[in-house]
């Protein structure tokens, strides 16, 4: 007993002695921690574009590349950069920003280059070229409607001998268009240049990171820190798919569509209105969102090129089929080296084409007939169509439009994995449960104007199970629109008698 106590006492003493002995170093550690905290707080935050789940489903070699050939991750970075240093793949229809100018004269006072000859712009080296006039280049805007910016920090040359080169501008005079360049460049009059190229995208990035990224994520993956609290989930842009567009069912969203969503928000979701932002700020964000969407689509499409043969699953089954891993990797290396550059080109062209097309007049949904007057008769016809076998709106939205049709109770299969979802109901391409809208609620996410509802019916809601009804006569769509817009005000929606009661309101509506 006694010895035990003594032992434990001893232990106690030993420990306390040890503590005492180390207390000096504890103090030192505390100071060190403080110093570290102070410096850590000052370091720059580095954002990165997350690698998609899709890409992660590939074999490591397909993600990271083999030998000299880059994999999906490096190819995406090569074309789009990272959040700190964005890259402009000029093939893509993104408004990169900056001011287009052409070289008017090279050298001082326009004596050297006006004739159109090439002239070398020297570096600002005091010993060799005392005259700063030698670094001087005079720039002009292509037409009067554009004015030169007040501050300029860089010049990108896009034609002529120095095409593709970028140089810092050390001094700039907005009134004359005279710039002093920091490095040696061969320029001649008529060369096309861009002042502060990419400035728009950079501004878009800053605004996006401040206002949008906490939900939509740095890469536009819809997985920012606040996303987990939201239902519905914020949009993941990487499919290139946006739900509410004024373009036809095959087209991407137009800049206008994205701007509308930013400006007015999406009622019924957590997307708030950014009405108070300036137009140029909205423009910059829209370009950046398009950039992120194209980046995501690019990554996805490269994965598609590889996934059938080189996904992790494919590797497993191929190895089971008798091939060795080394053989497959060798084949992959060959594919990455010889075929991938072509695929990258192809995907780039595809992106260029579809995103350019979205801005064209052909892509826009324009009804061929004006809205049918919103009469009781029109609504009755709309209801007939709504319930008809061919359109079958009630299958999802329910007989009374409450969004409770039979489909909401069915267990869907995931189209990719072919497995049944855990919960009943309709799912969108982002794998989120996405139940049909309750049309009685009076909340129309894509807008409540008749044209908005028309577009929803005509083009469907992209990415969701709401299909396109583009083959329905436009007049019929208008009847449906009239019916849908009347639904929130029906006293007894779905009842056959409600059509009669709506006649009163309908008559009043038609009066104006």
């Amino acid at each position: 007993m006694n010895t035990q106590i003594r032992k434990s006492l001893n232990r106690y003493h030993m420990i306390s002695k040890k503590d005492f002995a180390t207390s000096g170093s504890i103090q030192q550690t505390a100071w060190l921690c403080l110093a570290m905290l102070a410096t850590v707080g000052c370091s720059d935050f580095e954002a990165s574009f997350s690698i998609s789940e899709n890409t992660r489903s590939l074999a490591a070699e397909a993600q990271n590349g083999t030998g000299e050939s880059p994999g999906v991750i490096a190819l995406t970075e090569e074309k789009f950069g990272n959040p700190q240093s964005l890259k402009a793949w000029t093939k893509l229809p993104v408004n990169w920003g900056g001011t287009s100018v052409s070289v008017a004269a090279v050298g001082s006072d326009g004596d050297a280059g006006t004739s159109g000859e090439s002239a070398e712009v020297e570096t600002a080296d005091a010993t060799e070229t005392p005259e700063s006039g030698d670094n001087k280049v005079t720039l002009q805007v292509p037409d009067e409607s554009i004015s030169l910016p007040n501050t300029v920090s860089s010049l990108l040359v896009s034609s002529g001998e120095s095409a593709g080169q970028s140089v810092a501008v050390t001094s700039w005079d907005a009134s004359t268009g005279e710039a002093i360049l920091a490095t040696k460049l061969v320029l001649s009059a008529g060369d096309q240049c861009t002042l502060d190229a990419g400035k728009g995208l950079q501004e878009g990035r800053v605004l996006y990171m401040r206002h949008c990224s906490h939900c939509h994520g740095t890469a536009g993956d819809g997985n920012g820190p606040t996303a987990q609290y939201l239902n519905p989930r914020p949009r993941d842009y990487r499919h290139g798919v946006f739900k509410f567009t004024s373009t036809n069912d095959m087209s991407r969203a137009s800049r206008n569509d994205l701007t509308r969503v930013l400006r007015y928000g999406i009622p019924g979701t957590y997307m708030p209105s950014f009405l108070l932002m300036e137009d140029d700020e909205l423009e910059a964000i829209v370009e950046y969102v398009r950039f992120l969407a194209m980046r995501g689509e690019f990554e996805r499409k490269l994965v598609v090129e590889l996934s059938s043969d080189y996904s992790k699953d494919a590797m497993v089954s191929r190895i089971e089929g008798g091939e060795t891993r080394d053989e497959i990797v060798e084949e992959l290396a060959e594919f990455l080296e010889l075929d991938m550059p072509e695929s990258v080109d192809y995907v780039g062209n595809d992106l260029q084409e579809i995103w350019t097309a979205a801005e064209t007049e052909e892509a826009r949904v324009i009804p061929t007939v004006a809205r049918v007057p919103d009469t009781a008769e029109s609504r009755r016809r709309g209801r007939e169509l709504y319930l008809s076998k061919t359109l079958n709106c009630a299958d999802c939205h329910g007989i009374d439009g409450a969004g409770n049709g039979p489909q909401t109770m069915a267990f869907e299969k995931n189209p990719i994995t072919n497995e049944k979802y855990n919960e009943p109901g309709l799912h969108d391409v982002w794998d989120n449960l996405n139940q049909p809208r309750n049309l009685q609620a009076g909340i129309f996410r894509g807008g409540r104007r008749p044209i908005d509802i028309f577009c929803r019916v005509y083009s469907g809601i992209k990415g969701s199970r709401m299909p396109s009804f583009k083959n329905t006569p436009h007049e019929d769509i208008w009847h449906i629109v009239n019916y849908v817009l009347s639904l929130p005000f029906e006293s007894d929606p779905g009842a056959t008698g409600s059509l009669a009661s709506s006649e009163v309101a309908g008559g009043a509506e038609a009066g104006d």
Binding site: H214, P267, Y270, A370, R371, G442, W478, D512
Partner: protein, 326 residues
């Protein structure tokens, strides 16, 4: 050297430095060197240099004990001076009041400010007096004990009680004018012009169809917008404040309007914009992670412009995407 001495030396050097800079060095440098313009505190806040000078002289001219007594007399002077110059410098409010209620609310604020300033100055002077009396007491003077004074205690209980009752009576009228429906101005008795629905994280506006009254439930032909409310300037306007989710608060700083939006309640509020123009509308109830995004604007314009705006909104809301050719 004890803490008190250390502090006195610190204050001596600080105030002397400030006084020298404000009175001598700064103005001299600014007048002699053409291209140098040193920032002077006195330019920002009138009288700073004199307070610095008074403080500096006090610190040098008095013994340690007397200094602390003077120190407590000094601050009420600064407070008095601050109270006098604050309104002119716009220190208390984001702007001059731009609504009827704004003038009343600012009036209440200044009334309370005067009461508080007088109280603060009085108590500080009394404290300084007590310190001064013991500072000038001879070294051999006997210590004197006080067991308190009932009469004094009764006085300093009853006087503040009367002041508090006075304040609560004085503000009743103002609160009633802002909050009590039948005290609302005649101009708004006809009803609200719009419903302002707060939601995470925006302000959704619903106007009744032009020519009709606002109903509590949406009606066919109602006009919708978000984060922008148009009202007629100079005339009182009433809106129904609601929230779709959690508690928010409707705050227009320049009009001094502030009202919580409470789930389940429809709260009528009225306000008027004295000048045409844009007024910031903010949420002042921390309502979630996106609280800072809840910013909107109120546009005050002529009644003519408001009805034109609503006509435009109506046209936009009936947009069918087909160019008008008829």
């Amino acid at each position: 050297m004890n803490l008190s001495t250390l502090l006195i030396w610190f204050l001596r050097l600080l105030s002397t430095g400030l006084a020298l800079y404000e009175l001598v060095v700064g103005p001299l440098v600014n007048s002699v060197l053409a291209d140098v313009s040193l920032p002077l505190l006195s330019d920002q806040v009138a009288g700073t240099k004199w307070f610095a000078l008074i403080f500096a002289v006090t610190t040098w001219a008095s013994s340690e004990k007397r200094f602390w007594a003077l120190f407590f007399w000094y601050w009420p002077l600064v407070a008095l001076w601050a109270c006098v110059i604050a309104p002119g410098n716009n220190w208390w409010f984001p702007s001059e009041p731009l609504s009827r209620a704004g003038h009343q609310i600012d009036g209440l604020f200044y009334m309370i400010l005067i009461i508080v300033a007088v109280t603060f100055i009085g108590t500080e002077f009394a404290l300084g007096y007590a310190l001064w009396k013991s500072a000038v007491r001879g070294k051999d003077d006997k210590v004197w004990f006080s067991h308190g004074s009932h009469r004094l205690e009764i006085v300093w209980t009853i006087v503040p009680a009367f002041i508090l009752v006075f304040i609560s009576m004085a503000q009743l009228d103002v609160v009633a004018d802002i909050r009590v429906l039948n005290r609302f101005p005649d101009e708004v008795q006809s009803g609200p012009v719009a419903e302002v629905m707060a939601r995470q994280f925006e302000w959704r506006i619903r106007y009744p169809k032009p020519g009709t009254e606002l109903m509590t439930t949406p009606q066919p032909g109602d006009l919708y917008y978000v984060n922008e409310l148009h009202i007629a300037a100079t005339v009182p306007t009433m809106v129904n404040l609601r929230t779709q989710d959690v508690q928010h608060s409707f705050f227009v700083p320049r009009m001094r309007v502030k009202q919580d939006a409470v789930p389940g309640l429809i709260i009528p509020i009225w306000f008027d914009a004295e000048k045409a123009g844009e007024y910031e509308l903010l949420c002042t109830e921390l309502c979630g992670w996106g609280h800072y995004k809840m910013k909107a604007r109120i546009i005050a314009e002529t009644p003519q412009q408001v009805s034109e705006y609503l006509t435009g909104l109506q046209a936009d809301q009936e947009e069918d995407g087909v160019a008008d050719e008829e």
